[in-house]
Symmetry: D3
Subunit: 252 residues, 6 copies
């Protein structure tokens, strides 16, 4: 199968790191294609940045061919609902992927994300997904997204300290890392703290494989129905939906 | 005070109707400026359309000067969180405005919106705002948004029938109309059914006046903090946030 | 329009302070009439005191003529449901008013009230209104209601300290002051802490103006229906409801 | 032990019926004293009536001596919180009593009450008590409270019809009768429908005995603390709390 | 009446202590029979131990004759649902019993249990029963169940310290002791801390008396219906349900 | 990897059907071993049957060697918590598996199960897992579990009719089949109704593969800690936990 992993920001080094994390867990027969939009923010840190990433996600989806499942590799699950409307193939956000798998290996988990400003969006997602009761607390390590790319920063230590607090204070039984840029840290942090530490990229890729194997596709009845046929104005004209038949990007 | 009322879709006739509804309730000293983006969908019917409306909302906000409050005139409250980050002035969605005022005049309300595909987004918003327990049911009348603009359609009758069902079956004590394009129907439907019928545009304008009079502005601590300074790529470059000081569109 | 602002306790100096706060935000064309009952408790600090304030609230409502909206100026929203039954005009509690407006300018707020004994009633109201998920924590400053009237008390400092804790520990993005007697402190505390600080009196007055302008009145279908015609015994006989037609105090 | 059963309305025939229901389940060693206030509404049908019943409840409590537990015999649990502040002895509402016992013999129950206007208050109580998730639906039989006292009314048939609907449509496993005036119907309706049918009066009396036997009294830490010492004005002066020591009506 | 009190573990000294606690609150006319299974774990500390206790509970129920109510004396309410299916007589768990009675004497309670590993099961029960909102926090004292049986252990002090923290930090108005083995400590701890401290055994026995007096039995409509007639294999064959008529253990 | 699929009932034909469903989705490199206990009920229809299945599940787990993940193939997720304590390898219930995957392809799903008596246990699980808000309704088709094994029964038609009602009345966007015995129907029912129809067996197997690939194991901190070392009495002695080191069944 072919999975399109979309890093919604424009930072190519992060796309590469995400692609590497995706490939490291994918089955031999799975092909990972990792991309990022050309237009938009270099990192997503809050609601404002999110808004400018979503059209680029859809554009990347419409450019790729013969894709069996999509992964949106931003922990906010940026644009997930819109992307689900755009295709019959499954679309999985790395945030939701980690929340679901954490719920299968622990009674309660805590999230450790980057900046405090990103906490409310994650809390909203947990409520929306129904899994807020499984999350003990969403914590921020006060590490900026792009600092995760810098060699020599103290990012790992800050994240590790916050994990220790989550285990001691929240009674967290597992930890979800709240940023795609932390994908390379999960394994060593799990070793260090003796609890499952989940990276959403790995979770989303294997869930995409699960859905593909079971033959499950996004329901087209209700909120994820194909967009109605209409002509968009201006810079978005080429992405106008042409009705149910055409607008849904055909899976293989 | 000056309120910028943004119709997030590109249909000018709807912008005009919304502007008229806004002016009809505004105080004498309030100036209403109604606009719509040039780029984007002609109507917003589901998550896909929403995604292409948000950058245009921010663009309209950055073009206008000396604005004291913003109203987003789509019942999905499209782009509300991103818009709140973009300014210190209050930003109010017409959906949330109607939910809050309905909660002050009734124990429970039902929503009557356009198409079934729009129901999940409204339900998500109610959960996010905390007001889901006040809403008996979100109902669809199966009237498309732009059909509300057509003289001679049976739109009003279908909406009225759904209101009757909401009162009888949901024990709804008030009705919230779930589309900006229904703004002109609220008064006569309230008369007809003997319960408060709320139009979000009117609610949002008067709430904007309330917040202004009390001197309340959006908190910049937490999720609505000004976007971090960074350079956006491509078509969004001109909307790049330049940091806390500059990025927050200054209210008067 | 004419708004009757009812201080449910019998302390005239507090009625005056509340009236002043109400007038300071009211529009030029709004007339504020502030009253308090002659019978009842001098301050409301818990459920016991509340019980003896409600008949006096209704008595004040029945004495006043040509009122367009009522504000109940106790943070517990004492007697709000009963008062809503008594009239078709809108009735707004200062607690709910502050909760609703805080929800429009912040993701989460904390409440800082007077004594610990008042916390459960406020928590119950938040659950009833549906807004508990928007409130991070209800905190007490351990300042008694009437100490707020004493010059030279350290009330303001204690409240300010509690606000600081709410911002640091609860991740509160806004603060709601939990007592009508704190109305004069909101503005300076907001300045001091850099977040919106809401006084319920101001919020309720402008919300009353909003509802009036939109033409919204309390629904008479359901829980707020006019009381059934019946004769009360003893000291309450003069307040007996005479049936739907008569019992509902006519708005102008 | 001595239980004071307070019918909060002024209708003596209903007090007698309630007293009879209470005595029929009480242990041999329990003395039941049933009273009603002299001042107030003849029946409680909604929030307005409730407000005028509470001071009379407290007055009856202060008149009685050597009481070990109090039962408030209105299904709305009128004045329960205030009454709990007034004494260290347990105070039990018949609504809450029925909800708690129903939760011990059934997964889910439905409530069948009198008029639709009473439904919201019952729903609020269920949410406040935490038991809303155990209640499938609150239904009204459209029988007025005092019609239950009339021989020859079709009240029983209407209630029975509503019970049948609750079992079929709500998947209710037990039924709670939502009015003290229905106390005499529980047994025959249970026989008829083959599910537990609960009358709150009986439930509250035996729960009062339970609490007494276990030695449990109302916590005086938090919301049910004794009222602070203060002087009430006017008609309520004689009920002024004189401080923690004096104000709490001493149990035997 | 006759109450069968089942200690689900195999430790006879604990059965004796539980029986003594049960007798100390039972009415003169109530006969308490306390038993424990011969097969199973010596103490129940987590989900694994629970699984091996439930068949023994059912076996004890089927051996006893002429029982009017059953009490399951493990704070996890081990096997409560299965036991309810097995009889028409009421079955009460000591955990739920304490939660319900605590809700009648306090706005909020905290639980103090033995080991951290038992906390999640208690939290699940609270959610299932609907009473999670009444519980401020489930706390562990890190005392193992059988250490409560040891003279000279510091168990009581640890529990007392945790109670002090619950009152100070959780704003708990009452304390529920989270283990049947703590039954003998409730009274002195209540004295010491000045709040109600509840032991589930006493609560369950008096609730069983309440239900018996009111004539309430477990609903056989829905989840607690008698097991369908079928033949179990192997070691459980003698406990095979023989259909609705036979399988329900007849109460007196 | 090796997955042990445990059918908790003793019906071998159902074990075979479940094994076939498991194998049909498993990867080539995954070995499926399907077993059922020798002791226990022939089908699980309600809480009573469940109780007698759990020790057999643990016994099967302790007999198998070198297992990388366990699947419990009863829709009630019988014994899931106990099984998680017994091993470090992941354990997945087919109910939870289907709920989680349904949440990735639809906004809301309904469950169609066998008998009404099984509905409450499924509803409890949904609440416990946190996913109740994603489930529109749990419906019963009134088909007994073993009737699914009978050629010529009208089981499929009844299930299909109930699915049609779920789509029309609940606004369900996907359907979860609520019994392991329905595993062979999912694909054709999905075809027929045009929405995703999920069989828990397939979902659980692929989720087990996901967890294995990502390297996630059950957290041993908190509720799923290895059982404490103790000696069980009687028929369970051979399954006594020997302490953390020994008791946790070692994964490969």
């Amino acid at each position: 199968m072919r999975i399109l992993v979309i890093n919604p920001n424009t930072t190519a080094s992060m796309t590469a790191k995400i692609g590497k994390a995706a490939m490291s867990v994918a089955s031999a027969e799975t092909e990972i294609i990792s991309v990022n939009p050309g237009d938009g923010p270099p990192s997503i840190e809050g609601y404002f940045d999110e808004a400018f990433a979503v059209p680029g996600i859809i554009a990347e989806m419409s450019k790729a061919a013969a894709i069996d499942a999509y992964v949106i590799a931003c922990f906010d699950d940026t644009g997930l609902d819109a992307a689900r409307c755009a295709t019959e193939a499954p679309v999985i956000g790395i945030g939701e992927a980690a929340f679901h798998l954490a719920s299968l290996v622990a009674g309660k988990f805590s999230v450790v994300t980057t900046l405090a400003r990103s906490v409310p969006a994650i809390e909203h997602n947990l409520v929306k997904y129904g899994l807020a009761s499984r999350c003990a607390k969403v914590r921020s390590s006060e590490v900026a997204v792009l600092d995760l790319e810098l060699p020599g920063s103290n990012a790992r230590r800050r994240i590790s300290d916050e994990i220790a607090r989550a285990i001691a204070e929240d009674r967290a039984e597992a930890i979800v890392l709240g940023c795609a840029g932390m994908a390379d840290l999960a394994s060593s942090l799990s070793q260090e703290h003796g609890v499952p530490v989940l990276d959403g990229v790995a979770c989303a890729v294997t869930l995409a494989e699960s859905l593909f194997r079971v033959g499950l596709r996004t329901s087209k009845v209700g909120g994820y129905a194909a967009p109605r046929s209409k002509r968009f104005s201006g810079i978005y004209e080429s992405l106008s939906p042409a009705g149910a038949a055409a607008a849904v990007i055909s899976p293989t």
